[in-house]
Amino acid sequence: MSTTTPDPGRARAATAVVSGEEIGAIETIRRGVRHSPELAHGIRVTLLLAALSTAGQVVVPVAVQQTLDRGINAPGGTDVRFTVVMALLATLAVLVTGLASYLMTYRLFRAAETGLSSLRVKAFRHVHDLPLGTQDTERRGSLVSRVTSDIDQVSQFIVFGGVLLVVSVGQVLVATVVMAIYSWELTLVVWVCFAPLFLSLRYFQRRLSEAYGVVRRQVGLMLSAIAEPVVGAAVVRSYAVEGRTQARIDTAIDTYRGAAVRAQGFTAVSFSLGGISAGLANAGVIVIGVLLGIAGRMTAGEILAFAFLVTLFVGPVQMGTQILTDAQNAIAGWRRVIGLLDTPAELVDPGPSGSDLPDRAVDVELDGVWFAYPGGDAVLRDVSLRIAAGRRVAVVGETGSGKSTIAKLLTRLVDPTSGAVRLDGVDLREVRGASLRRRVVLVPQEGFLFDDTVLANARYGDLGADESRVLAAAAEIGLDDWIAGLPDGVHTQVGQRGESLSAGERQLVALLRAHLADPDLLVLDEATSAVDPALEMRINRALERLMAGRTAITIAHRLSTAEKADEVVVVDAGRIVQHGPHAELVAAEGSAYARLHASWVAQRAVAS
């Protein structure tokens, strides 16, 4: 009733995970380094070593050339002393160069792996910090690839390409300086011949960056397609749709292959341009050199020596351009990771300045709450509701009525589009995240378990609990004999996603986990899957004990749950239409709840 937002029914645009594709290459590197400061640690020493090793790469061939020309092939006969001295000096240079490259490579390797490992961890954490809705906009396989293969691409590039890139750029500079000492005119000629290459580089980089962007995206889609027959193995088999599933996977694999080959084609063409520039440069040096020679400004020997220097220039330019193209793949991966980190963790934790919830059952208030999923219509419209501390409330309504959204709002998996959710009078947005998660616990419909023991999964609710505390907690909610009956008791492995246990047993572990978490507000999204009656009874008993002394709100799919609750809230089309004790609501003839109840009673009759 009290909303001031002009159109509270509409949500902001969908908050998807940022693709990162629009971030420029230099920007990507700059921000990448800011995210992984380890990359820049000790960079000065590394660059010094790089300079040393670069100089060595140029000095050694020049020394060999000199030894040949002025030692062995000296005009006045072989000069033994000069040859041996030069050979020894060159050997020293080779050793120093080798040592410098080893140290530089190792340092780069260490910096890269350290920096990217922390980036990986940071990205992983960020995935968990994203709002639920955002997590669901991206395929799991794609999220996984952002913290695995995308980062691997960057690390492989820095380690193998990064070293060569640094050395190549250095060599180009050193070769330019040495060339300029011989003849600035010819140096200019060389640079002019390479100018088209350097200028077209930007164009090619852009095309390549697009092409590799597509490649990285296709990897994500391919992984997601490959995951399907693994996760859905049973359904694929029982419907004998292996052929169809394979066809879909094959399409994803081939689309990826096509994208990769296309990118490779661009790389090949852009790389080959360097060779054409080199041919032009050689021709230019000879032609201009000859013309300069005729003008009396160069000797034949100088022209030939210069031609040798050009090869020292061309090699690293080609190496450098190749690495720059390889870099696109890495940068595409890096972009996706940075894009992920750019995606806002929308639900801001107020941090230390936030309030803590009191350590007792809380009262709950929804005040004029509107909610819409990104880009969708309002699912809750101006909902106001008060629940006193310690009450047990069932929320009922048709599928799509908005009742599950209430559970998400109460546990702050989403924030209202407008209006407020308050616990003990404090707006949830002002409660510290740690306090909120400790005092408010959601038991989801499907109790996801980790591939570990029952004990480890239960301890997920309270990491401080030891085995005896877990067993005591199990006894408190009547699960001790069930645990005793498991093959390895509390140490029984539950399998991937807990699939070694039945759906009902998974729920028991989820309840034990919630009990150990010891919340003051318990929000239960009731499971729809039925379990066998004995287990059902056990679950109900555990639930009863779990809810005792806590404010408990159940999103109910069964009316038996509603019947037992202190209060029932009936949601229809995003609004609360009824609220009160079961008996009262049933008595209200023609009401939504009365209709629901009548059909339920009819069903019971079918059975007996």
């Binding site: 396989g141 419907y239 009656p533």
Partner: protein
């Protein structure tokens, strides 16, 4: 030393075998790429020749005569640029060829690996975590075929190397031998590198798998992580393995950091050796300066091929590890064998016989023992029993996800093992306890490749009580559901899964607690529609229902009561209720008020 370090005779030999596989599988692309590489090598030599020609015909005459004709200058430019363009063609052919080859190899293995995922039995899947399987199909395949990229270059430069070596030997045998000492040195360095890095590379690939597995599991359970505020603990778990990966990668990187400079330095040292020995030979008159210069120059020519072969060999350990991990999937055995028999796809309900079936997931721990029962066409049987009685295992056997250890299951008298591939699915449909949806549209998920028109899809959705919510979806039948249908609620997923079975009009339908999302009234309507049991008509669909609800049990013609893997009793619900106390207790338990129970 890791497992692969000592047991394998030589990572290089194994690596070359892997490359052999690639060449045999893609001979034409490989030939094209190698020709490109040879063209490139030949033209690199031609470049030196053009420079020589320009010196003799342009530079020297120009200085001698003090002038130069325009025609000669044009010829120089044309020669240099012509050679450069041809060389560019060589580069494109090599790189594109190598890329096509590498990605084809990858695609081939990915297809093969996923075919295995589809063919291998469920028991194999239960033993292999999703993350590892994804890693096998991605990172391992990539590692295996990584060296295919530099392969044509390495092979092409071998030609260059052979020519250079022959020339060296012809010029001066002794100097050639001195210079060629580089080769054994390179081989020794390589062997050392392979030996020390193999175990590290194995570990790196393993850890990549582990890291990917943790990320997968953790993101799968994101809701639980979030609601219990366990982000930090999950991050810590991920960090530990990620840092372990980092440390091993740094150790491997340190070796690589030493390997590359040594590989670069060896040819240089060879050249310097040739110079020193050459001086001595020139002094005692057994060689002349020209020969020393030639051998030294040729040695610098072979330096590049040596390095590119070195790089190739350097990539091999990682390749072998990836290849072996991929092979372990491809060589896994245990796919189901199929016969040739078929079943009628449509028509009256099928007859089902289960005879003396025994089955267990682990040896010595049978889940089902000596289970026998039969279901006549058109009849409905409810399978009832406490937890771990073997109910879900029975549905796995009925749809042949697993085969019995002893005994047989028959549909219309045919043993399931004698049926052709796909024959069982033509006549039998199952709706599992947990619905699985594909990353596809609603229509794609319901039809699942079956040739049905929209009317039939809508009819099935209608029956499964899914039509209403599907109509409300943004694009109706064409709405994309996303990975595993995460955009829908559990109940909605279950109804689509039900519609998927119904649209097939199966002759035997197995429902494994699959109707819990629909209310009992609707369930009764669905079952009745399938049964079509008006007198005088053909029998309708035969139904096997794993039931938890008394309402569902009430609809069955007969009940099979399972406990601890045995059929304890069998007969109409009322009779069982009257004569079997355990059964009565289980069935009536549902009607107890657990709250009262707890208070008592």
């Amino acid at each position: 030393m890791g497992p692969g370090g000592t047991a394998r005779p030589s990572a290089t030999r194994a690596g070359l075998r892997v490359l052999g596989v690639a060449i045999r599988r893609e001979p034409w692309v490989f030939t094209l790429a190698t020709l490109g590489s040879v063209l490139f090598g030949a033209l690199t030599v031609a470049d030196a020749w053009v420079l020589g020609w320009a010196t003799d015909h342009v530079v020297l005459p120009a200085f001698r005569d003090g002038e130069i004709g325009a025609g000669v200058l044009v010829a120089v430019v044309a020669l240099f640029v012509g050679v450069a363009i041809l060389r560019a063609v060589g580069i494109v052919a090599r790189r594109l060829g190598a890329g096509i080859m590498q990605y084809r190899m990858e695609a081939h293995d990915r297809r093969a690996v996923t075919r295995q995922y589809l063919a291998l039995p469920m028991s194999w899947h239960h033993r292999h975590p999703t993350g590892v399987l994804l890693s096998n199909a991605n990172a391992d395949v990539q590692a295996a075929w990584g060296p295919v990229a530099p392969l044509p270059m390495a092979v092409g430069t071998v030609a260059m190397m052979v020519i250079a070596v022959v020339q060296m030997v012809v010029t001066d045998l002794v100097l050639a031998l001195v210079g060629l000492l580089v080769f054994p040195a390179v081989i020794v360095v390589n062997l050392w590198f392979q030996r020390v890095t193999s175990p590290l590379m194995t570990r790196v690939q393993e850890l990549r798998g582990v890291v990917s597995e943790i990320a997968h599991e953790s993101f799968d359970g994101a809701l639980v992580v979030k609601t219990l505020g366990r982000e930090s603990e999950e991050t810590e778990r991920f960090r530990q393995r990620s840092e372990e990966l980092r440390d091993v990668a740094i150790r491997a990187g340190r070796l690589r950091a030493a390997f590359d400079p040594i590989l670069n330095a060896l040819p240089n040292i060879g050249v310097l050796l040739v110079l020193v020995v050459g001086v001595a030979r020139v002094l005692d008159g057994s060689s002349d300066p020209g020969a020393v210069v030639t051998v030294a120059y040729l040695l610098t020519v072979v330096a590049f091929p040596i390095r590119s072969i070195g790089w190739l060999l350097g990539d091999l350990p990682r390749s072998v590890v990836g290849y072996d991990r991929v092979r372990s999937v491809l060589h896994a055995e245990g796919g189901l064998e199929f016969g040739d028999d078929r079943l009628a796809g449509h028509g009256p309900g099928a007859r089902l016989e289960v005879e003396n079936v025994r089955f267990g997931y682990a040896a010595g721990a049978p889940v089902l023992r000596d289970v026998s029962f039969a279901v006549e066409p058109g009849r409905t049987v409810a399978v009832v029993g406490p937890t771990a009685a073997g109910k879900s295992t029975l549905t796995s056997l009925l749809t042949r996800l697993v085969d019995p250890e002893a005994g047989a299951l028959r549909v219309d008298g045919t043993d399931l093992r004698d049926l052709a591939y796909g024959a069982l699915a033509d006549a039998v449909a199952v709706v599992p306890q947990t619905a699985f949806l594909f990353d596809d549209t609603v229509r794609g998920n319901v039809a699942l490749g079956l040739d049905v028109d929209d009317a039939e899809v809508w009819a099935a959705l209608e029956t499964a009580q899914a039509a209403d919510f599907v109509r409300r979806l943004p694009a109706g039948l064409d709405t994309e559901l996303g990975e595993r249908g995460t955009t829908l609620s559990g109940g909605q997923r279950q109804r689509l899964s039900l519609a998927r079975a119904l649209v097939r009009r199966p002759r035997l339908l197995v429902l494994d607690d699959a109707t819990s999302a629909v209310d009992p009234e609707v369930e009764a309507r669905i079952l009745a529609a399938l049964r079509r049991d008006e007198p005088g008509t053909e029998p309708g669909t035969t139904l096997v229902v794993v039931a938890y609800r008394k309402a569902t049990i009430g609809l069955a013609d007969e009940v099979v009561f399972l406990d601890e893997g045995r059929v304890v009793d069998q007969g109409p619900h009322d009779e069982l209720l009257a004569r079997n106390a355990a059964y009565a207790q289980i069935v009536t338990a549902y009607d107890h008020d657990p709250a009262e129970e707890a208070l008592r």
